[in-house]
Symmetry: C2
């Protein structure tokens, strides 16, 4: 049985002036007219904005590419469905009989859409700043757990993308040395690009892969120094 929406409203820390907006946010399109699709469109837009602004403030040294990646790691169907489940949103969804039978209340897409629709409904009901505050509370744990380092691409990928964006030839890697006993070898790899005087960097590591990443990281630093 579907639980009463006002229980969810309280659980979410909300108090709607126009409770019909909240009901609409919980109503899946399988119910026909009066469903949450328009509110979801609105919620998606406000969510994208709120998280973008928050990340801009949280990471003043991050590039726009890093910021976009961080946002994508927070704002996606899986992450939204996870938050929806933490609040048992599925128990309150208003679904058509077909979706009800096939377990629509458990589906990521339906949960995530409904959560976005609630954001849209709150925006309409109480304006941008109340909505912003609520969204940030909802995402507080996920925002707190963010790690800029982890969200970054590995140095080889970063270097490759940088060269592509400059329409330069891709970097090449060459194994130049192996030292140490068979069970504890250290590899040295040279990374070459056609930047400036065909500069090269040497990296090392316990595998060729690690050594390449190390060399790419050094090359990235060198290039960034040049363009500053």
């Amino acid at each position: 049985m579907i639980k009463k929406p006002d229980i969810l409203e309280k659980k979410l820390g909300l108090s709607f002036n126009h409770s019909e907006l909240f009901i609409m946010a919980l109503t899946h399109r399988s119910m026909g007219a009066g469903n949450n699709e328009r509110l979801e469109y609105l919620g998606d837009a406000v969510l994208g904005f709120v998280i973008a602004e928050k990340l801009y403030e949280m990471f003043p040294a991050a590039s726009e590419g890093d910021l976009s990646r961080l946002r994508a790691s927070l704002v996606n169907q899986g992450a939204l469905a996870e938050i929806a489940r933490e609040h048992s949103l599925g128990d309150y969804l208003i679904l058509g009989s077909g979706e009800l039978k096939s377990g629509g209340y458990r589906r990521d897409s339906i949960l995530s859409d409904a959560l976005e629709a609630i954001m849209g409904a709150l925006l309409k009901d109480q304006g941008t700043s109340v909505c912003k505050e609520w969204v940030l509370k909802l995402f507080a744990k996920k925002l707190g757990g963010l790690d800029l380092k982890k969200s970054q691409k590995d140095p080889k990928t970063q270097l490759q993308e940088l060269m592509q964006s400059r329409k330069s030839e891709l970097p090449t890697y060459e194994l130049i040395q192996m030292t140490g006993a068979a069970h504890a070898q250290i590899f040295s790899v040279k990374c070459m690009t056609n930047i400036k005087n065909n500069e090269s960097c040497i990296g090392s590591g316990v595998s060729i892969k690690r050594a390449e990443q190390d060399a790419a990281e050094k090359m990235l630093k060198l290039i960034k120094k040049q363009i500053k």
Copy 2:
């Protein structure tokens, strides 16, 4: 020669508390550090939100698909560059020497990015509601010229997409009649789908194409009545 940023500021009806934000918004990445890329990321997010909310209010009967299409018709590189040109933004851009020589101040992508960056800068300088108001003023003409009808896909495309989304067979069209003299013929076309009792609709028009669209439109209405 680059014109002074404060002239542009006035022309845009803006008055920054932190003029360094405005300068940064005009600074292309070819200048290295302190460029507008982060502000553009922020401006892109606030612009998407402001236009989404405005369209939601302007078109209370539009579906979320129509709203998304309307937004995409307003918020894209070409449209943004057009607005930027109306305000001669190119004359004020701060570009590296390479971009300057190759005419970067005329390029759609650079103009559009800078305009979004100004939105981001205004958001940081004066908050959401001032920024929202300014963005809406900037887009007033384009918003006023919107036509929901024109932005919609034609009925045949809509019907095809609807059938695909239901994983149903695609509709078929059959010419069933031609009447009238050679210079003023009227075509009648039957549209068939496998929905319910294999219902069909007949459309007519001065060409086969028109008659097909008419039949598809009738079929869409029939289907929408069934799912309500």
